[in-house]
Symmetry: C2
Subunit: 376 residues, 2 copies
């Protein structure tokens, strides 16, 4: 048994991200690249400072090209199989930051077809999640003039022709090796990788020129780009899509990434104050078993979910997060204090998000790709 | 080696249609069913009288339902991988007859995606054939108010959602067994059976009620309906599509069905008078090797392509065709006479077709499914 598994359909175990970088053949986001990003943005986003977005493919190339006047666009997505939790927001928040810094277009794919094909859910259930998730996506604050949301079953006319060109160049053998398909896989999900790759090239088709593509996403999606989109780009004479990869936001429990299947370990965007407090109160921490012991020996922030959430997501202040860490180790603060501190921050964040989420209800159509009238 | 092979991707050898009926588990169109058809139509179409459309699934059920006021629609199609020849026109001409007799809607699928996926042709070449074939389809004379042409890559928004519902219910194993896919098959063609099945249910989705479907097509397409569409219908709670199957129109050469890959053995819809005369002059006949021998021993209409063309397609008069057969057997007419007779009929037919084909150029959009504005 390997210690951890990271594939597009399974993430399990204690992930060694350095090993993942070597195994996947991606590059670390090093100091030089961070400096380059800072040149464009002024300040680095928290997710870069804290190494949550930690690896990439060809990001350096994209930035060099951009300096030389060559535009790029962003592409990310969402598989609508449940309600949105904070873990889902991470790549979207970062994508919005990139959109603001570089003033670029974003293509956002909602893979309702994929989720219908692989989940024991009917089509209407999936459409319910599409509507729900759309509100969260829009609440993140993307620029409506530069954002094109593609709901696969609704906007298939923008993708299908490109997907067919891609599909002609992928055998079942390849798809099996990359995605673990089996003879019992349904023929819809077997075709799906072509549809997930299609937006990498869509702006090139729409505008009739080669445009670079940058994909911010969690690293489990890497096989799609490595095994399909980048290979196909060469065959189609298109630019290879670049990636910027994030780590996974852990659940509040002891193990694994945040998952809707364990609702008490993840914070949903529609959670109320009491939900947040309860879930954080029950979070797994690095505290000792008694107050006395913790005062004497200190806690272990490196295994504490409350600390992880502050570090990666909610404590912007670099000095403050360092202070929390030291105080915890020295037994100067107890878990209860940290939990209250995090809960306050999360509640504040969610209240703002929920206001924007409410306003999003009137704006959905402004973001849909069919505002462009040219179907392919 | 089997004596003959009939699959959606290969038709070879001397076909024993009685064996095919048993192997495929279809039913013969018997006298009773012909009488039933005559009740609706007054006269039976040549293709029924001469047993060119010879087998069916559930046609009796469709007709009973129709008598009881339950409507049906027709569905047929074309894979645009080359120019149209007379063999292609056969199911279309028969479909038009059915449309006229029963006054029903026709959905006509042009599978440009499929042909792109399986042929060594680029996308633009296939689109060239789409344009070309459309003229022939329209020239057949379908009712524009009741005919909906679907070009897959252009009108995918009408099909994709249904195709995904179908695809979820077909494993790669099943598709492999029915269509002979292999690990080296591309993932586009593996998905394709779901798209070919989708129009069977499209009117049900568009109109929100169960409507019977009747598919006139050559019998090599049967596995699509038997192995996929009819099975899926049960799972989707939709009516099982019915079929009416034709034999293959042979090429003018000694073997096989009419095929664009042997252009001298098939008559294209754009062929001129000289082409027709030359091709028919070179046709394989049942004549003897010398005039003297033929006068003495007679010819063999049962193996003669010129006779086949007259019998199945061009000699409407039942007495006349019987007379030709007898005179041939008795050595009273020679192959040259029959060839001239057939050529005249074919040239006359093509001249009319070509006039309508020319007029079709201004009517294409009247037939496209997007005249219905409701995409699914």
């Amino acid at each position: 048994m390997p210690e951890f598994i990271v594939t597009p359909w399974e993430v399990r175990g204690k992930i060694d991200y350095d090993k993942l970088i070597r195994d996947f053949g991606v590059k670390q986001i090093n100091r030089e690249l961070l400096e380059k990003l800072r040149e464009f943005s002024g300040d680095l986003h928290l997710f870069l400072r804290r190494n949550l977005f930690f690896a990439h493919r060809d990001l350096d190339k994209i930035l060099n090209d951009y300096e030389n006047g060559k535009e790029f666009f962003l592409y990310t997505g969402r598989g609508p199989s449940g309600h949105t939790h904070i873990g889902h927001l991470v790549p979207w928040i970062f994508t919005k930051w990139l959109q603001d810094v570089f003033n670029v277009d974003l293509y956002f794919q909602i893979t309702d077809d994929e989720k219908y094909l692989v989940k024991r859910k009917n089509f209407d259930e999936i459409q319910g999640y599409v509507k729900d998730n759309l509100l969260d996506i829009i609440a993140v604050g993307f620029d409506p003039d530069k954002t094109y949301i593609i709901i696969n079953t609704r906007h298939i006319s923008y993708l299908y022709k490109i997907a067919v060109e891609i599909a002609k160049r992928i055998t079942f053998s390849t798809a099996k090796a990359v995605f673990g398909f089996e003879d019992s896989s349904n023929i819809g999900i077997i075709f799906f990788p072509a549809l997930q790759a299609a937006p990498c090239f869509l702006p090139c088709y729409l505008k009739g020129k080669k445009i670079n593509c940058l994909i911010p996403a969690a690293i489990d999606q890497d096989p799609y780009w490595r095994g399909v989109a980048r290979e196909i780009a060469i065959k189609l004479g298109m630019p290879k899509p670049a990636q910027i990869h994030s780590k996974f936001i852990p659940g509040l429990g002891k193990h694994g990434k945040m998952s809707s299947s364990e609702p008490e370990t993840c914070i949903f965007t529609t959670d109320g104050e009491e939900d947040v407090k309860r879930k954080i109160w029950n979070a797994f921490t690095g505290g000792a078993s008694t107050v006395k012991e913790q005062r004497e020996k200190g806690g272990r922030p490196e295994i504490c979910m409350v600390y992880q959430y502050l570090f990666y997501l909610f404590e912007e202040d670099d000095r403050k997060i360092e202070e929390i860490k030291q105080k915890c180790k020295n037994g100067e603060i107890l878990c209860g204090e940290c939990k209250e501190y995090l809960a306050k921050k999360v509640v504040r964040f969610l209240k703002e998000h929920q206001k924007r989420r409410e306003k999003a209800k009137d704006k959905i159509e402004d973001y849909m790709i069919d505002k462009i009238k040219t179907a392919l």
